[in-house]
Amino acid sequence: MSALDAGAALPRRRMEILPALTPLIVALVAAPFIGSPSTFVTLTAAGLAMGMMIFTMASGLTLVFGMMDVLNFGHGAFIALGAYVATLVLLPLAGWSSANSLALNLAVFVLAVLAAALVCGAVGWAFERLIVKPVYGQHLRQILATIGGSIIAEQLLYALFGPERIPVALPTTFQGSIVLGEAAIEKYRLLATLVGLAVFAGEMLILNRTKIGLLIRAGVENREMVEALGYRVDRLFVGVFMAGSALAGLGGAMMALYRGLVHATIGGEFLVLCFIVIIIGGLGSVGGSFVGAILVALIANYAGFLAPKLALVSNIMAMVVVLLWRPRGLYPVSGR
């Protein structure tokens, strides 16, 4: 055996479990204080649904930041755009939405969220080419350019749709709650949780089982080396940016339906939360964002119930505590 071959067998790739368990730990700690099991179940289900929607929005941001090193403060514009696009699909198809038919209700929902994702992906392509590409590698300019782009997008939405909040009705099937014992869980929250889980599963599948995913993971760690292996990183960047924008649009559409109201400021509201989630998760880590989003949403829900004033700062406090424990986030990416 040569010296190069020496050494004991190394462990196979293994994921750290403890960071993934933090939402469970938070839930177990909160449960005795909440007291009522039905309230606990309702709060937890709501937290999971909110977490899944935040994850859908934030996962695109973490990929864009992780791989492209782009601080995209325009991400919120895609959340708002997705909300409006979904509304534009839902309003003319109000008949499908109000029909007492699961098939029609599901069809209009799928059409709305798909349209939101596709339009945002397409606009994301233009945003990357016009606004982001000229400022690659220049963080200060990125912040200025993407904030500028975001302001323009928000004002365009005001100009097109007016400043009023537009009401959006949930399809009939997804209205109301399912009662489990004494706990009531909104049907739409279950749907949002399922969609978020599907998005997570899809992203993990692509990242871990396809060559494109492999390139994205490698690019997050070392873009230059990916290029030196013969891959056109600039094209990959465009694709990642479009995917990130599409995910923001999908999340925005889901959130608009959840709130029942659409307004251009919805993007700005959730942008800060998205940044908190990707920092907690570890910049560039989709798995970290998934755990971070659930963690943030559960803490916000439990804090809102137990100490409403604390809920105002719960996200920031969660971030501080996580960073004190793991300064590079729950699942740091090498090279970041």
Binding site: S2, L4, L10, N222, E227, Y231, R232, S334
Partner: protein, 240 residues
Amino acid sequence: MSAVLSLEGVHTHIGRYHILQGVDFDAPAGRTTMLLGRNGAGKTTALRTVMGLWRVSKGRIALGETPLQNMTASDVARLGVGYAPETMAVFSDLSVKENLVLGARSGALNAARLDWIFGFFPALKRFWLSRAGSLSGGQKQMLSIARAIVEPRELLLIDEPTKGLAPAIVGSLIACLKEIKATDVTILLVEQNFRVAREVGDEVRVMDNGRIVHRGAMAELAADEALQNRLLGLSLDSHQ
């Protein structure tokens, strides 16, 4: 002997620093050309410039008849240039297998070629599904070189493969480099370790202050201690 790689009057600036100041040299086909010189002479910059990772300010680089000086790194790699950087640059969060899959840009991993690589880098087979980040320094270097040769290349650029490695590991790496060399691939190898240079190199180019100050056969330089002292400031024998 035809040159696979040639540089003519190549200048490279990094920020306000003028690193390469008119570099002229070639790497003959099927030979291993050593690029030697003191720290800061511009060897790594020369390799990175050939690879398209630094922009050429002035001058010409050609792979055969194809000009490289305006190409991106991905275009250069697509012409059949493999690159193992000084930093190894293995993807730590990816497995050994995934690192090699990325190296095989044009398709799936070739089983016969993998077996050939495992023949001199057996650790890579053993740690196939391990995170690259958990490998030792020597094993990371193996992976970096293996990734560069996982597909047949016309030209291999290898930057200080023995840097920071223990002497026992350096010996093994020399054997590996000789295996690769036996395939008649053209290699441009930056190295500080004279023992490696003497054992592996056919040709030598010596750099100083961003210029080539000597070109010739490696055996001639190895045999001429006075020349070594003049060019490199160090005796070859003191680095056995």
